[in-house]
């Protein structure tokens, strides 16, 4: 594209941004002559420049805008919202045209006659009728008319022409315009003219003449140049770090002093370039007055936008990232936060609502506050919505504090707006806002007082390119953790006060009377577990509202690192934000604390723990939780079943249930599905809905008829065994209530033994041995096996299992616990592998210890597969997968490979 045209696009875009802001100001303070003359001048300049470049269409729109502004200035026209809206429309149209020019390089053909007529009609004091009344009053010496500016000699003629056909005057292509030709065309579609523009502009010829220094004290630099410079500085910082690293091990020598100087200069240079990248946050705010103004007009509210600290500077990369979130939040405040005038007056508040934007620097961060004095967030609605959208349960939300409930607005799939208005509801929710802010290492806090208003506080780092990071080591590999997220370091060992404890297989750290959930870097990154060294470090990290610990082997010092984007190959993993080169030249990964915390499932866990309000030990230990479905049957007591086992919950029409041969069945997905009542006292309904829990496996399903599905809750599995009654495993305390845990295996056999007798005969040929000393797990796993059509034999320890071998039993798969009395799982595995009778049988370990070398030990002992008990979902999945392979009689080798 023509340089000059590009320059024009940039300059005009800047002018338009200022115009937007100034116009909104002007509407409020329409008596301020300075604002008006500034607006007039900007519009005038745009028009004038269009004249130079031969951009008739753009010039015509600008001219119409200037015309009406001129009337304001001369006091001929009263400033009305309608008129301002029209000028804003003109600005928008100019933007549209500019955008097109930016891609095509030429002024788009076409006409804006409609808009121009509308503006002219208002300018001449009329209503914005579709067709403009000819503005005959424009006289020969009027200030707003012959600005198409022809060469002086031609002026008189042109003016005559104008007087005849003035309304097209502004649309004239103004470069070398022959006087006679143009004025007739009512629609100045002039492609040839437009095409000539670059040519006309390209009158430049290189001149040898030397230019004296310009009066400008600032220059414009292409963003790429600065970005490139930043990259070079980054490399320089790396090289400096490298040199410092080399020097560190040495005695004082002649390099020391120059190296120190180099180090200082590099730091200064880095600061300088960082400052160069800084832009005032006001750049991201430019559009806001306009947005708020338009919103206020369209919703009939009165809203004032106060902006403070617009000059506060931050890195342009950061600025880009927060632009949209800020816009969204201000839009939200205006749309949902601020009430309309009547409501406000009724609530004893001033009729005009206020949205205050405030930005300031503090301790290496920039803070942005967005506050409105509206009605505040509606807790009830958030609560209802969170439940309706399945984000939480009534039981869980009952114990939550206000602050915790408010946090739901940041959850994906949540939107407080009851109806989607034209303004909000654009698919950007507060969850995206939070994600964007957290991605750049920022945090967002929220406070809301009913009837008083809502305040958001955003805290973001000043720059992203070079960050301070803590270098840590796990399994002899080094990683960087952004210092921003690090709260403190704790050295732990068996001898020290701070110790890593294990509660239900989840590691925790007791730190100043708080239980801190931990995630092991080795575990999470799948590094070798290595020897059990108890002297380790816990990095206490803070992400959003959650705090957790990262277990590492060693901690080095902090270093200024240059963030390089993570390679595309690794982009799928949530644990890394990028990589960097250390002073010693090694390339290391930068960890993403956000990803780590999510991997540990801690954020939710912590919320819930706090919600339970009683220390919430269970909640803090995310790992050992399971979801339970609570329901009622004929009896009034609550029943529970692990949610993983339930395929679907269906409400069936009672009328659709058929009674065939003493059994209840229903047509379900083209098959007959047997229905089993929970117990004999079950009353089959004649009409209405029958709630059915559907259990599926291998394409077959059965339905368990229940009276009412009550809730789904997450809790720790704490069963107190007591299975006197068939169909029940025992009772447990779940979500604070005593419930019966249902043994689905019981019902599966009821449904399938008779119904699918032939299938069963065939499948029962597959026989599993389940070895576990815990009755609870035997009772949990056996139904899973049964439902997968396995015949199950159980043994309580290794000795009992081997007795079955002596008795000549054969199995298709053996599933064993590791920790058992008498003969443990590892010993059992060795015994099985070292005897020809069972040594071909697939062997699956099922253990609560699935780390720290346990898995390796298990494999060495002869297990083909090692599954963790603590992870319910994966246990079910993996077991199903392994069983399918075992069922097909695949060899151990295949299984090994597949796992």
């Amino acid at each position: 594209m023509d340089d000059l045209l590009q320059e024009f696009l940039a300059e005009t875009a800047e002018s338009l941004a200022v115009l937007d802001v100034e116009l909104v100001r002007f509407e409020r303070e329409s008596s301020d002559a300075t604002i008006l003359s500034n607006i007039f001048r900007l519009m005038h300049t745009i028009k004038g420049t269009c004249g130079f470049l031969g951009l008739p269409r753009l010039g015509a729109v600008a001219h119409a805008g200037e015309n009406i502004l001129g009337k304001f200035r001369d006091g001929e026209l009263e400033v009305t919202p309608l008129a301002v809206t029209l000028i804003l429309k003109a600005i928008d149209q100019i933007r549209v045209l500019l955008a097109e020019m930016e891609t095509t390089g030429i002024e788009p053909a076409g006409s804006d006659a409609g808009l121009i007529d509308e503006i002219n009609a208002v300018a001449s004091g009329g209503a914005p009728a579709a067709a403009a009344a000819p503005a005959q009053e424009i006289s020969m010496d009027g200030p707003h008319f012959s600005d198409a500016g022809f060469p002086v000699a031609a002026e008189l003629l042109v003016e005559v022409a104008h007087a005849l056909k003035h309304e097209t005057a502004a649309a004239e292509p103004v470069f070398e315009a022959p006087v006679a030709e143009p004025v007739h065309a009512p629609e100045p579609v002039r492609a040839p003219e437009a095409a000539r523009a670059p040519e006309a502009a390209a009158t430049s010829r290189d001149s040898e003449a030397k230019e004296p220094n310009t009066a400008n004290s600032s220059i414009r630099v292409n963003v790429d140049v600065i970005e490139n410079l930043m990259t070079l500085i980054s490399e320089l910082v790396l090289t400096r770090n490298q040199l410092l690293q080399m020097q560190r091990g040495q005695k004082d020598n002649e390099f020391k002093v120059p190296l120190q100087r180099l180090s200082h200069i590099t730091s200064d240079l880095q600061d300088g370039v960082t400052r160069m990248r800084m832009q005032p946050i006001g750049n991201a705010w430019n559009k806001l007055p306009r947005i708020v103004r338009d919103l206020a007009v369209s919703t009939g509210k009165k809203i004032e936008l106060n902006m403070q600290g617009a000059e506060t500077e931050l890195d342009r990369q950061v600025l880009e990232m927060i632009k949209d979130p800020l816009t969204h939040m201000v839009r939200n405040s205006a749309d949902h936060g601020i009430e309309d005038g009547i409501q406000r007056l009724a609530a004893g508040k001033p009729e005009t609502g206020t949205i205050a934007l405030d930005a300031y620097h503090e301790s290496g961060h920039i803070f942005i506050r967005i506050a409105d004095d509206g009605k505040g967030l509606d807790l009830e609605r958030i609560r209802a919505k969170a439940i309706a959208n399945g984000l939480t349960t009534e039981a869980a939300i009952a114990g939550m504090s206000e602050q915790q409930i408010l946090q739901f607005i940041f959850r994906p799939g949540f939107s407080t707006a009851e109806k989607v208005t034209s303004v909000s509801g654009r698919g950007v929710g507060m969850d995206v806002v939070r994600t964007n802010i957290e991605r750049i290492g920022g945090t967002i806090e929220l406070s809301s007082v009913a009837g008083k208003g809502t305040t958001f506080l955003i805290k973001i780092p000043l720059t992203l390119a070079i960050v301070s990071a803590l270098i840590v080591e796990a399994n002899k590999q080094r990683f960087a953790i952004p210092q921003l997220n690090v709260v403190e370091l704790v050295g732990v060992s068996d001898r020290s006060e701070a110790r890593i404890e294990t509660i239900n297989t989840s590691p925790v750290l007791r730190l100043r009377d708080r239980l801190l959930p931990l995630v092991s870097l080795r575990g999470v990154l799948g590094l070798e577990q290595g020897t059990k060294n108890t002297d380790r470090f816990v990095i206490v990290a803070h992400v959003g509202a959650s705090t957790f610990g990262i277990i590492v082997d060693r901690v080095f010092d902090t270093e200024e690192i240059v963030v390089k984007p993570v390679a595309p190959l690794l982009r799928g993993t949530p644990f890394y934000v990028g990589n960097t080169i250390l002073g010693d030249g090694s390339v290391i990964m930068i960890l993403d604390p956000n990803g780590l915390s999510q991997a540990a499932g801690q954020i939710e866990g912590a919320d819930q723990a706090a919600a339970q309000g009683k220390g919430g030990r269970a909640g803090l230990l995310g790992g050992d939780q399971a979801s339970f479905l609570l329901f009622r049957t004929a009896g009034s007591e609550l029943k529970a079943i692990p949610l993983e086992l339930v395929a679907r919950i269906e409400g069936l029409e009672a009328a659709s249930i058929e009674h065939v041969g003493g059994r209840h069945v229903v047509q379900y997905r083209d098959h007959l599905m047997p229905l089993v009542p929970f117990d004999d006292s079950h009353q089959w309904k004649e009409t209405g809905q029958q709630e059915i829990l559907v259990f599926s496996d291998n394409g077959r399903s059965m339905g368990l008829a229940v009276d009412e599905v009550v809730d789904i809750v997450r809790d720790r599995m704490a069963i107190e065994l007591n299975s006197a009654r068939p169909g029940l495993l025992g009772s447990a305390i779940i979500a604070g209530k005593a419930v019966d845990i249902v043994d689905i295996g019981h019902f599966l056999t009821q449904a399938f033994n008779d119904w699918f007798e032939i299938t069963n005969q065939q499948s029962l040929a597959r026989h599993a041995l389940l070895v576990d000393d815990s009755p609870f797990f035997r009772n949990l796993v056996a139904p899973l096996l049964t439902s997968a059509n396995w015949k199950v034999t159980t043994a309580t320890d290794g000795v009992e299992a081997l007795k079955l071998r002596e008795a000549g039993h054969q199995f298709d798969v053996i599933i064993s616990d590791i920790e058992m009395p008498n003969l443990d799982g590892l010993e059992l595995a060795s015994a099985i592998r070292n005897d020809p009778r069972w040594n071909k049988v697939p062997l699956i370990a099922l253990s609560s210890h699935a780390e720290e070398g346990d898995i390796d030990a298990g494999r060495q002992a002869g297990f083909d597969e090692y599954l963790a008990k603590s992870d319910q979902t994966r246990l079910t999945e993996n077991l199903a997968r392994v069983l399918r392979m075992a069922g097909r009689g695949e060899t151990n080798d295949n299984m090994r490979r597949a796992s």
């Binding site: 000059l4 320059e7 024009f8 300059e11 500034n38 001048r41 005038h44 300049t45 004038g48 420049t49 004249g51 130079f52 470049l53 010496d141 200030p143 012959s146 600005d147 500016g149 022809f150 060469p151 002086v152 002026e155 103004v174 470069f175 070398e176 006309a200 502009a201 009158t203 430049s204 010829r205 290189d206 001149s207 003449a209 030397k210 230019e211 004296p212 220094n213 310009t214 009066a215 400008n216």
Partner: protein, 125 residues
């Protein structure tokens, strides 16, 4: 040395455009983005000609013109007012304030060349 022309305009585009034309005609150029900057410039370097826009922020063209004339620069620069304000009263105002010529915006090379010849900065062809 070829004559030096100071271009005073708040639009970068127009400044560059004018500079291109003037350089094409063999002049040297300097730029100022408003009247104040122009006055400042003239304190150290006296140009042969000032191409002065009317409508500018900070200090507009007519004020700038008055200030320049009040400085009694030696040698006296030729001032050409550029404007879209073509009312007779405006032109008169400019001439009374000490402008030597005025030129309508937008102008092009030939128009500018005419003016330069009129004020004697470029030889008649």
């Amino acid at each position: 040395m070829s004559p030096l022309c100071l271009i005073v305009d708040d639009s970068r585009v127009i400044r560059r455009m004018a500079a291109d034309i003037l350089k094409g005609l063999g002049l040297r150029t300097a730029e100022a983005e408003h009247g104040g900057k122009a006055v400042e410039f003239c304190r150290t370097t006296v140009p042969d000609m000032v191409l002065l826009d009317w409508n500018m922020p900070e200090m507009d063209g007519i004020t700038c013109l008055r200030e320049l004339r009040a400085m009694n620069l030696e040698p006296r620069p030729v001032v050409v007012m550029c404007t879209t304000e073509n009312g007779m009263s405006k032109i008169r105002e400019a001439l009374e304030a000490g402008a030597d010529e005025y030129i309508m915006k937008p102008y092009d090379q030939s128009v500018l060349l005419d003016k330069l010849m009129q004020v004697g900065l470029v030889e008649q062809a």
